[in-house]
């Protein structure tokens, strides 16, 4: 095996498809659907008023199927991905996406199921949602999950809307949501969207929130706090129970951004930390693929008192369980809108079903036997990187003393001394054959480098990555750093030009 995976290769260039066309070509077969030739020939104006009819069709490329296949296959080869490289993007949980999940999501009848098919005919599909809900409740200790949120940020928005509605119904006009300054940008953005004013709280050296500091912000205007746990430094919020107590005493809620839930999966429940609401990013913790930016799912879990606020529609289980009445023994699943205080609808149908399906398959694969190993190995791997890299990047670990959880963060102190900036480290790593870590986030660490290895990487891969960072730190010349990456399809992209004179389409 070569020392590092990034060696050399051939990149195949590819023109925009629109330039590869030839008049009349196409890559799709069109059925006649049994229509008579005379009907097929009829002009559209025989059906609808000519004033509506589009005179010139959209200028799409005119290309055959092989041309399209080669085009997009070549494009795909310009991407780094989880299946080709170590992808330690902090806070993104780039774990392996099991192939069996894709096969299941591709089952013919499931993928072709119309969402408004009568419920009686799709009981097994509805049951999936209910069963998965039960699993998530067991893993978090919460009372119920709503699956309408299509991604993490949508889950945050739904959770905050619930808090808003709760106080509206109580006749209290609380406007403030507390947000630590180390939080993800979606937190304040979701707060504003839900009608709140986010107020930033300064965090300590390791991004942790101090209960005493929090007390200063408490007033009857505070509706809740959004807290990422483990925080964006990968550090567990040690004061979490105290924080929850302070909030609850004030009649406020604790919303946990569950983006980092991989640190707890199968090992600890958020109910034991005093959390009232959490969104679980199924495309992070539950192995569903990120798809180059989406789709995802941000299932929202709540405590008992907030169940009636969840979005509609939802899957309602009627009957079943231990009932003396025979007719009730077999449960029936309905698509229901009967949630008294629901914040309403978030999506045209039920949920991102194909994403939930994969997540459910993932949990069934692991089972109770293996689920706890996910967080255990994720935490071990991250601490291994923290310890080993901490020696190479001495003085750069803002949280040197303690243990991290699923990810670790370094400042640029040590690499700066070698004349390498964080962005250069990121780009240099690419040439070694690694995807860069998350960089320049969280913002309160200078030149932050945030590494999340996940449980699906081996010690051998981690050692290789650490070796690459070491080489960069001790052997890289500035002249090479500014030019990197050099082995990619394109070099450093001119983002100033891209933003000054934006080109949005062909």
């Amino acid at each position: 095996m070569p020392k590092f995976p990034g060696i050399k290769g051939i990149f195949l260039d590819e023109d925009p498809l629109i330039e590869q066309g030839s008049k009349g070509l196409r890559g799709i077969g069109i059925p006649d659907c049994g229509l008579k030739k005379s009907d097929l020939k009829k002009d559209e104006s025989e059906y609808i008023d000519a004033k509506y009819i589009r005179k010139s069709p959209p200028e799409l490329p005119e290309v055959s199927e092989p041309t399209v296949v080669r085009h997009f296959t070549r494009l795909s080869s310009w991407n780094m991905c989880v299946d080709t490289v170590f992808y330690p993007l902090g806070s993104c949980t780039m774990k392996y996406n099991p192939k069996i999940n894709e096969k299941i999501a591709a089952l013919e009848n499931i993928k072709n199921l119309h969402p408004l098919t009568p419920a009686r005919l799709i009981q097994p599909a509805l049951k999936i949602i209910d069963d998965f809900n039960n699993i998530l409740c067991a893993l978090t200790g919460l009372a119920e999950f709503g699956f309408a949120p299509q991604a993490g940020a949508a889950g945050e928005f739904a959770g905050l809307k619930i808090i808003k509605k709760y106080f509206d119904l109580k006749g209290e006009n609380r406007k403030t949501i507390l947000v630590p300054d180390s939080s993800h940008g979606t937190n304040p953005a979701s707060s504003v969207l839900a009608g709140f004013v986010p107020v930033e709280i300064k965090t300590g050296k390791a991004g942790t929130l101090d209960a005493e500091e929090l007390e200063k912000f408490i007033s009857k205007d505070v509706a809740g706090i959004m807290i990422t746990n483990p925080n964006t430094f990968g550090v567990f919020e040690k004061d979490i129970k105290k924080i929850a107590e302070i909030m609850h005493k004030n009649g406020s809620f604790v919303y946990m951004d569950g983006a980092n839930f991989n640190a707890f999966l199968g090992s600890a429940r958020v109910s034991d930390m005093g959390i009232d609401l959490i969104q679980l990013n199924l495309h992070k913790t539950f192995s569903t693929p990120h798809g180059g930016g989406g789709p995802g799912s941000g299932a929202l879990g709540v405590v008992e008192s907030l169940r009636e606020f969840l979005p509609v529609p939802y899957v309602k289980k009627v009957g079943g369980g231990v009932s003396a009445d025979k007719n009730l023994k077999r449960p029936v699943y309905e698509l229901s809108e009967d949630k008294k205080n629901s914040i309403g609808r978030m999506t045209p149908f039920l949920c991102n079903f194909a994403v939930v399906l994969r997540a459910y398959a993932y949990l069934l694969s692991l089972g109770r036997e293996n689920i706890g190993s996910v967080s255990e190995i994720a935490v071990l791997n991250a601490n291994y990187v923290k310890k080993k890299l901490g020696k190479i990047l001495s003085g750069s670990d803002p949280f040197e003393e303690g243990l991290c959880m699923h990810e670790c963060v370094f400042s640029d102190k040590a690499i700066e001394e070698s004349g390498v900036s964080t962005i250069e480290l990121a780009k240099l790593l690419i040439d070694y054959g690694f995807h860069p870590p998350t960089v320049y986030f969280p913002k309160n660490i200078h030149g932050a480098i945030m590494i999340e290895p996940t449980e699906t990487e081996s010690v051998r891969t981690l050692d290789n990555f650490i070796k690459a960072v070491k080489e960069i730190k001790f052997k890289t010349k500035k002249s090479k750093a500014v030019k990197s990456p050099q082995k990619t399809k394109v070099g450093r992209v001119n983002e100033v030009l891209a933003n000054k004179q934006p080109i949005f389409k062909y």
Partner: protein, 131 residues
């Protein structure tokens, strides 16, 4: 009356100065532009509008950051530097000259006198940089 050709600075890094034609102009400091990096877009204030000191009058964007522009004193916008719409890089090239933000009207100089002069601003930057 303040001297023409000299600049007075706010803590949020805007300047106000008087040019040789006795017109007042505002802009952002050279230090501010160097911290921002390549300016790619400027959202300019509205001509004719009056702003209070420290009121938000516009925004400057680089590729990955946004900075707000605040009024250094109570002022009214006479006209804006519309060249910035197509060539925002003027701010990087000449923040005190061709990269000015707007021409403004002020009622009197008292607001300006409360600002930092060039030397005081230099010290201010040096101090805040060490923090």
């Amino acid at each position: 009356m303040i001297k023409s050709g000299s600049f007075y600075f706010s803590k949020s890094h805007e300047w106000i100065g008087r040019d040789s034609n006795n017109k007042y102009r505002i802009g952002i400091s050279d230090f501010a532009q160097s911290e921002l990096g390549d300016v790619v877009y400027v959202s300019l204030p509205e001509a004719g509008k009056a702003y209070k000191k420290d009121g938000k009058i516009g925004e400057i964007e680089s590729v990955k950051s946004v900075s707000e522009i605040y009024a250094p004193v109570d002022l009214k916008i006479i006209s804006v530097n519309s060249k910035l719409n197509d060539t925002p890089e003027l701010i990087n090239q000449d923040s005190n000259g061709a990269g000015f933000i707007a021409e403004v009207e002020i009622s009197d100089d008292s607001g300006i006198e409360a600002l930092m002069d060039e030397n005081a601003y230099k010290t201010f930057i040096a101090d805040s940089h060490h923090e």
